[in-house]
Amino acid sequence: MGKVKIKNLKKSFGELEVLKDINLEVCEREVICIIGPSGSGKSTLLRCINALEVATSGTVEVDGNDITGAADKDINKYRQNIGMVFQQFNLFPHMTVLENISFAPVTLKLKSKQEANEKALKLLRRVDLEEKANVYPEQLSGGQQQRVAIARALAMDPDVMLFDEPTSALDPEMVGEVLNVMKKLAKEGMTMIVVTHEMGFAREVADRVIFIDEGFIVEEGPPQELFGAPKNERTINFLNMVL
């Protein structure tokens, strides 16, 4: 049973066709890493999954819900099940770490304030930042901010997590701590779709690696296959450049 089903997905920005024909199915508990050169459409693909970008044509289904054709009200509902972590963290600077995490469940009246705070503290423990509960995001390092952002997404109990280049804005010494949290999450069985430039992470954690170039899925397969014996020339070229 596919958790995320993408069929004939196309996305254009004006004249520019960014996604040309994407077909992808992601199973429950599967960890997918999407790699490819910049401008290849990988982030756009990810953003189509929770309708931050509206697809030009084709369909995206998550948990059997049609994302592409849904009304605004339903989209809000579906998004609650799709966590997203951004390259730039996008924490709310006017809220403390704890408030950042409990904000959505409380505002959407899914949990009482006390329940949400307890859950937030639990999540902070999971990302190893319990002692930072009452500070503001600007007082945290990039790596810490990103871990809070992961906790914030998890606070909604999502079925799927989307990661949009979560370590690209980090100083090198902070990449590890964020990847570790993601590894733990993958081990616990979270369904994850990760756009990344971290080939080491993709090799180690992904069940399947997708290589996208110029709006198409050029090649996909288990990491040992895609990294070890790539078939397509474009994949080979790309891997030669980044590895």
Partner: protein, 221 residues
């Protein structure tokens, strides 16, 4: 008569004029604040028609002098509709619409200064646009807008003096009426100017304090 003697002699009238000035300012700014928020929100809407409405309003306010706006509302509209409008009401409508236009631009600028990622992060958690706007974007926007908001308050306070022309007895008009009796233009305008200056300085001091309290230190994300 010397300035101190004039102050003592006309104190109650001057104070009443100042009270009227402050009252006009406060009422107009409250209405203008609502107009500014409303039209500011329209101007960042995804719908072109809503943006167009906001644009027309702001352009009209900015494209015509306040004095002409006051005449239009006090003399023009009642003449066209055959109604009577008292000067205070006309004055409040004029100032509200005028400041509302500028505030709409301040709101638009404030909202647009908040990074797109903030709205996306809120929406990705499942929040509808309205909640994301009121709980995430506006609280941050208002912080960045604070200096411009305070500036507009001071401008509106000073703009009330233009309303003296349609006969509202605010501070400037009070000064003119007193001078009509005693012909002491230099002394009286000095007193009036100092009164404006003092009240605006008090406002500036208060606003500086608010500004300092509000700066929690922003991150760029």
């Amino acid at each position: 008569m010397s300035i101190p003697e004039l102050v003592v002699q006309n104190w109650s009238r001057l104070l009443a004029g100042l009270a009227m000035t402050v009252e006009l300012t406060i009422i107009s700014l409250i209405i203008a604040g609502m107009l500014g928020l409303l039209f500011g929100l329209l101007s960042v809407s995804k719908k072109k028609s809503l943006r167009a409405i906001a644009l027309v309003y702001v352009d009209i306010v900015r494209g015509t002098p306040l004095l002409v706006q006051a005449f239009f509302i006090y003399f023009g509209i009642p003449a066209a509709l055959g109604i009577r409008l008292d000067a205070n009401t006309a004055g409040i409508i004029t100032l509200s619409l005028n400041a509302g236009g500028y505030l709409a631009e301040i709101f638009r600028g404030g909202i647009e200064s908040i990074s797109k990622g903030q709205m996306e992060a809120a929406r990705s958690l499942g929040l509808p646009y309205s909640l994301a706007m009121t709980k995430v974007i506006l609280p941050q926007a208002v912080r960045t807008m604070t200096p411009a908001l305070i500036n507009q308050c001071i401008i509106t306070l000073k703009d009330t003096s233009i309303l003296s022309i349609i006969g509202i007895q605010e501070l400037t008009q009070t000064g003119r009426l007193i001078i009509a009796n005693n012909y002491q233009a230099f002394e009286m305008w000095t007193i009036v100017a100092v009164m404006y200056f003092v009240i605006i300085m008090i406002l500036t001091k208060i606003s500086k304090r608010i500004e300092r309290k509000m700066s929690y230190g922003k991150s760029e994300n």
